[in-house]
Amino acid sequence: MARPQILSAWLGAAGLTVAALAAAPAAAATTPGELLSGYRVAAGNAAAAPERGQRLFTATHGREWSCASCHGSAPTQAGRHASTGKPIGALAPAFNPERFTDPAKVEKWFRRNCNDVMGRECTPAEKADVMAWLMSLKP
């Protein structure tokens, strides 16, 4: 009767390996709070100002689109891409727990979207302001 035991041991080991592999990407994950502190440090430890973030988010900056053109001026709800109409999930992390948990994704979208809205990349201070505002939005 040793065989079933070996089999179950093997299955258990395989299961652990799969679980470990599945958990691996989570190691790179972050939280909105960690990201915000990272941007604040990069901005020379300046305090983030949510109201400044809101202004940046809802105003246009010499171009056609603002952040709100796609995300909506209340990013607690889903938005829609201004040209393709594709739905965009809520941006405020309290309303969409996936948001601001993947540093590479956050940087990619700040880079692209600041470029579309402002014609340049955002500074760490601007990113901190916008994040502080988004994180202040609660259900």
């Binding site: 891409h81 040209s83 393709t84 109409g85 594709k86 990619k108 880079r111 692209r112 470029n115 579309d116």
Partner: protein, 166 residues
């Protein structure tokens, strides 16, 4: 011996020629439908479908995909830039699954501005859609396939699954 007068003979040849082409029409259509259902590379889905439908790669010729992937920072008016490794991976997959000129209606010629929606076949198949319909808030753009093609995200553009929103 009587011969068929030349103009009539020409007409006969034309008719026979047209008949010979008929059986070919159906397989071409079938190939297009199949081409639209190529399983999507997960990374293509992840990156490109963040902003728009993951357009089936067979809807554009290889040359169009090559230009699009070479110019992502200026992608139809928006910055869609990606890291170099991802651009390479997606580009290779798109080249491998781009329209096959001889087997699909998409053909080898790149549409103006490499826009799927300006392809001759696209305009032909949507010629009954009025400008007012395109402008409906739920549609907004010809690029918004899924507004009417309810299974477009699965690469299924079959007429049976079209529902045009009011």
């Amino acid at each position: 011996m009587r011969t068929i007068p030349l103009p009539l003979r020409r007409r006969l040849v034309a008719i026979l020629g047209a008949l010979a082409l008929l059986p070919l029409a159906a397989p071409v259509q079938a190939d297009d439908d199949r081409a639209a259902r190529v399983p999507l590379l997960p990374k293509y889905q992840q990156e490109c479908a963040a902003c728009h439908l993951a357009y089936p790669p067979g809807l554009l010729p290889a040359a169009s995909w090559q230009r699009l992937m070479g110019n992502l920072p200026q992608h139809f008016g928006t910055d869609a830039s990606l890291d170099a490794a991802t651009v390479k991976e997606l580009g290779q997959w798109l080249q491998a699954h781009a329209a096959q000129p001889r087997r699909s209606k998409v053909g080898a010629a790149a549409p103006p501005e490499d826009r799927i929606t300006r392809s001759a076949w696209f305009l032909r198949e949507h010629r009954e859609i009025t400008p007012a319909t395109w402008a409906r808030p739920a549609i907004k753009s010809a690029a918004n396939c899924a507004a009417c093609h309810t299974r477009a995200d699965q690469g299924d553009f079959d007429e049976r699954h079209i529902r045009i929103p009011r």
